[in-house]
């Protein structure tokens, strides 16, 4: 019996010819990523368990990317970044993208890809549930806690249970009014926030081939919102090009077998899909935009690992160009690279950055996770009352963006931009 892409990667890293769903295996890890929220706790456990003088298993395979609480005056948050700095010097960690330095990047999942740390066929663990984003590059990538991360830091290994794979096939062409965010919100709405718990979610079909690498990241990013262990897309020419432009290491792509066994296969015809939102307070609370259009909103938010990439802002700018927003619209580029490209890339002679600015959006002083997860009270864009927010982020749990009383709707950058211009939830087709 053949293996799925996820099974094949895990088998290779377990040194086995074959694995099946349900097998518990110890695997070798290619990369461990941590950030300012979970790094200090991980380091603490690493030292407690392996000794004060312990060394990480490979100083080139631990990547540290502060990104969560960067532009805050919170003393504890600042101290956490200091802890990372000390550890990096002590251990000689090669890849550290320090806040306040020229190396600073911003949101870890986007930075990992930009810096060439996401590679087909590899195994990536990160102390962040959205580590699954990197499955867009045809690798096994998933989130873990501090204890597991400390274990990897010391040993380079971890046990995993091989997940069964659910396959999602998108047939047809992606119409101009749909984005990856619509596709994944459709899936989550259909299978529920625990519909893929413990399982791999593999995305395939002509529609997926059409998507850019950035859009594929949006799709895999939200596998966790259905409870998935990982999201994954088989590598193709776009993947290989993106990675080889950023990483000098030889690419060893892995592909699923033709006779692989999937736990389920669900097909979507892209022609039949409409723009969609997730209503408060759960990513599976799906409604097509036409059902909720006219719903009053107080603010919009465009940012985060899933909704703050160049393609997200390009989509928003197409709609915002030459218009003015009616509600506060917060813009947070995911990384310094995204920020730079927004200033360079032109739409009809005007940069994306200035289109957003001229439309009246409030642009963050620098890239970070910002209000996607609330954060300290002085965080840019954080809700602090009963605001209704329409956001390109990935979670709308109670209190997620700050205030327990606020309500968050999730949508694509196209839908968010169209709605920002009207002050009510609006179908992007009205502007396209």
């Amino acid at each position: 019996m053949g293996m799925t892409l996820t099974e094949k990667i895990l088998a290779k890293h377990a040194g086995r010819g074959h694995v099946s769903p349900g097998d518990n295996v110890w695997i070798d890890v290619d990369l461990l990523m941590t950030h300012d929220v979970c790094g200090p706790g991980t380091i603490e456990i690493f030292k407690k368990e392996f000794g004060a003088g312990a060394r990480v298993w490979d100083r080139e395979k631990v990547v540290i990317i502060p990104d969560h609480y960067i532009f805050t005056q919170d003393a504890y948050a600042k101290r956490n970044i200091d802890i990372l700095r000390e550890f990096v010097i002590e251990q000689g960690i090669k890849y550290f993208y320090d806040a306040g330095s020229p190396d600073y990047k911003g949101v870890c999942h986007v930075a990992l890809a930009e810096e060439g740390h996401t590679r087909p066929g590899e195994v990536l663990f990160g102390t962040d549930s959205h580590t699954c984003t990197a499955g867009a590059f045809g690798e096994f990538a998933t989130g873990i806690g501090n204890t597991d991360a400390a274990f990897i830091m010391g040993t380079g290994r971890l046990w995993v249970k091989v997940p069964p794979t659910m396959k999602f096939v998108f047939d047809g062409e992606v119409p101009p009014y749909l984005m990856a965010k619509d596709l994944i919100l459709h899936i989550i709405g259909d299978i529920g926030v625990d519909g893929a718990t413990y399982k791999a979610m593999e995305f395939a079909g002509d529609g997926i081939s059409m998507l850019s690498v950035e859009e594929r990241m949006t799709l895999c990013n939200m596998a966790i919102e259905a409870g998935g262990k990982n999201g994954i897309i088989a590598p193709d020419d776009k993947t290989i090009r993106f990675v080889s432009e950023r990483s000098k290491r030889k690419i060893e792509a892995v592909y699923g077998d033709n006779d692989a066994r999937y736990e389920s296969v669900k097909r979507y015809n892209l022609k039949g899909l409409e723009p969609v939102v997730a209503k408060p307070h759960s990513p599976d609370n799906k409604a097509v935009v036409s059902e909720v259009k006219g719903t009053r909103i107080d603010r919009c938010y465009i940012g985060s690992c899933t909704g703050g990439k160049v393609e997200d802002f390009r989509a928003a700018a197409k709609i915002l160009r030459g218009h003015s927003v009616k509600v506060d619209t917060f813009v947070v580029p995911a990384t310094t690279e995204v920020e730079k490209r927004l200033k360079e890339e032109l739409i009809d002679g005007e940069s994306i950055y200035s289109i957003l600015e001229n439309a009246g959006a409030k642009i963050a002083g620098g890239p970070s996770c910002a209000a996607c997860l609330g954060g300290p009270p002085d965080t840019f864009g954080r809700t602090d009352g009963n605001e209704v927010c329409l956001s390109t982020t990935n979670r709308n749990f109670p209190g997620r963006m700050g205030s327990k009383q606020s309500q968050v709707y999730l949508a694509s950058p196209l839908t968010v931009a169209a709605s920002a211009l009207r002050g009510v939830i609006t179908d992007p087709r009205e502007f396209l």
Partner: protein, 186 residues
């Protein structure tokens, strides 16, 4: 690992995410500092919407103002407990607040794994809708060996699923203790 866990239960519904268990603004405190780490207990479950906090009545605080430990040492919840962020601060916060066992219909994967590998408390699963059978404040007794929970307030007993594969890790006290015991790390 205790054989018997007895105490007051705190009842929650489905899909309790880790932002509700410990809101992101509190993820800054040191876990090694004995005074600072208490903050995680103080804010445990503080973002559960008031109406859902302590079912069936709601509006019951898990941890009282100014306190760091909860009067409830057993949590009973519905499906998908601990979904969302991978923050290990969530199971840690429950542990610091004094939780010894969680009984849920199902768990989100990363949260479950963190609960087990950190050895913070016993995460039981059950096929029964126990969050409809218990009221916040009821006294319960879990018999770990028999995989059963009794509601001492009502006198009714319920079946829990055996801990299974993870029992060895939990009884060792977490992934490190387990790995040492089995020779995986020295």
């Amino acid at each position: 690992m205790k054989d018997i866990i007895k105490g007051k239960v705190y009842v929650l519904g489905n899909d309790i995410d880790t932002d509700q268990i410990i809101p992101a603004q509190h993820l800054v405190y040191s876990l090694s500092d004995p005074v600072e780490r208490k903050q995680y207990g103080r804010y445990a479950l503080s973002s559960v919407p008031d109406g859902h906090a302590g079912l069936p009545a709601g509006n019951i605080r898990f941890v009282e103002d100014g306190e760091y430990r909860s009067q409830f040492n057993i949590i009973i919840a519905g499906k998908n407990f601990g979904c969302g962020s991978s923050r290990e601060h969530a199971p840690v916060a429950l542990n610091i607040a004094g939780v010894e066992a969680v009984v849920a219909e199902s768990y989100a994967r990363i949260f479950y794994r963190n609960s087990v590998d950190g050895g913070f408390y016993l995460p039981f699963e059950t096929n029964e809708h126990l969050f409809k059978e218990f009221r916040t404040g009821d006294v319960a007794e879990i018999d770990v060996k028999k995989s059963a929970i009794m509601n001492l307030t009502t006198g009714k007993s319920y079946h829990l699923n055996p801990l299974g594969d993870v029992e060895e890790i939990l009884s060792a006290g977490g992934i490190f203790a387990y790995a040492r015991k089995s020779g995986i790390v020295r």
